[in-house]
């Protein structure tokens, strides 16, 4: 059983985000990229399936870009069997990225694609279910629990209020992963360095990216301040609020 995990970098949201001169995009110079946290969860869940013996092979995949080699070597250091980097004209939205990944996994072959459930910059939808549509395979998203046996997966999908729906799905399939059974593992820098020396990243052409999202951004701005919180200068002021609300 072979699992492909598409990986993607997103802006680190703990950093300040600035809009560029066009007023329609983030200022790329200022953005610090990091692995989408839900992709990290997907990779972890895939590696757990491999370690349990349910999967034989985990392939990490990403579209070429800044620091992508490091991200892919890190995935190998964590336990992925191999890494594939896609080249070609850059996808401009989630639909195009999903098309690139769909082309590549169709070439590579897969039983399961495990994608992060969403990314904070996904304006035109969600990678997993869009890939599934291009591949004509079933998809379940918001998954927090996967087991595999006999050509099918049993998955738990999260609803609100802590409710779960359990489903069986025939493979091949795509899953949008919300959370792995345990916190994503960490690969020590020394191990990533060593992998960089010994392993190679396979390259693949991304192929035709399709028409894309079909809508465009007309403006981007930080939410207006002012309606928001009354800022308190010190703990004394905070104590006064707590007393006023009858809490302290």
């Amino acid at each position: 059983m072979k699992i492909v995990v598409p990986l993607k970098q997103v802006p680190d949201l703990v950093e300040d985000l600035e809009v560029d001169a066009t007023g329609k995009a983030l200022d790329a110079e200022e953005v610090k990229l990091k692995l989408n946290e839900f992709d990290d969860q997907a990779l972890e869940e895939a590696l757990l399936l491999k370690e349990s013996g349910a999967a034989d092979e985990v392939v990490a995949m990403a579209f070429d870009g800044e620091d992508v080699d490091k991200m892919l070597f890190t995935a190998i250091a964590k336990g992925a069997n191999k890494a594939i980097k896609l080249n070609g004209s850059s996808p401009t939205d989630i639909h195009q990225l999903a098309k690139a990944f769909a082309n590549a996994v169709a070439t590579e072959g897969f039983d399961l694609v495990m994608a992060g459930v969403q990314s904070a910059d996904g304006r035109d939808g969600h990678l997993g279910p869009i890939m599934a549509e291009y591949l004509s395979v079933p998809c379940i998203s918001v998954v927090a629990g996967v087991s595999v046996s006999g050509g099918q997966a049993t998955v738990q999908k999260e609803y609100s209020g802590g409710m779960l729906g359990e489903f069986e799905v025939d493979l091949p399939a795509v899953l949008g992963i919300q959370a792995a059974a345990q916190a994503p593992r960490y690969a020590p820098v020394s191990k990533v360095r060593q992998i960089q020396q010994t392993e190679t990243i396979q390259e693949m052409d991304a192929g035709d990216l399709g028409a894309g999202a079909g809508s465009a951004i007309s403006s981007m701005a930080a939410p207006e301040k002012g309606l928001g919180a009354k800022m308190l200068d010190d703990v004394e002021a905070l104590m006064a609020v707590l007393k006023d609300k009858g809490v302290a």
Binding site: L17, L26, I130, S141, M163, A180, A222, P223
Partner: protein, 314 residues
Amino acid sequence: MANILVVTEHLKGEFQDITFEMLGKAKEIAQSTGGSCSAMVFGSMSGQTDQMGAADTVITAEVGDDYNPEAYAAAVKSVVSANSPDLIMIGSTSMGIDIANPVSTALDIPTVSFCADIVAAGGGFTCTSQMYGGKMNVVSSVDGALISMVLAGSFNADTGRVSGSPAVEASAVEAGAGKVRFKQLIEPEAADVDITQSDILVAVGRGIGSKDDIEVAEELAEALEADIACSRPIVDAGWMSKSHQVGKSGMKVKPKVYIALGISGAPEHIEGMKATSTIIAINTDKNAPIFDVAHYGMTEDLFDVVEELLEELD
């Protein structure tokens, strides 16, 4: 003239709030543009169309009561193909993610996710999305048909909660391929505390840094006679049990006072706590979106603040 299709959502025989939020907004847009609003309902929810008074028409789909990603998406595809609505409203929810994306991709209709507002503009629509964890408002303009994925809590559900007797049409839906089978609903594990009933909540987020440091927040909770809650990453890290999680996939809480320690305020978290009467947020990032919904805020290290508070409260 905007003809709008609202894809309703139900769980255990009840329409979810997001359904009424979308219906209220759809009705408003339909009226302002001289268009119409239809609501698509699934399975035996067709017996509750009297709750769909905000819609002009209800379209029923015989796909079973238990949600099935494949069957429901196939049904929505059929109805959208047959009716060609201008605007399709689907929740930015667990079910919505399964439905909106394949419909968008298969029928070449643009999707805009994380929508907090939708305005009809010159034959098309303008949507405002809360992106980057709520740090940016992104406006998309679409000329033709559009799928908008609506963030829960964006519109007033009461506006859409209207009784009536809209016309009912049965749709001829295609069955899915049968590759996805619903097995069972699993109820949440019994909780040690029911945070939906708490008067005061001290909630910790990833800013707490480590499992051991949660103790600091617990001390504060004890001093304030509050219960302890958390954001999702704290549960995913295994630091607290799921019953303490506030948000989209956790609990909806409405305490008198909610103290958020090191929580950024992503839309999925806000969804679970924005009805609180007093929200106090402590976060080192002055641009954290939590300050947009909080009533009081402090841009300080949470550990400094909690330590000082504990001294004061002692």
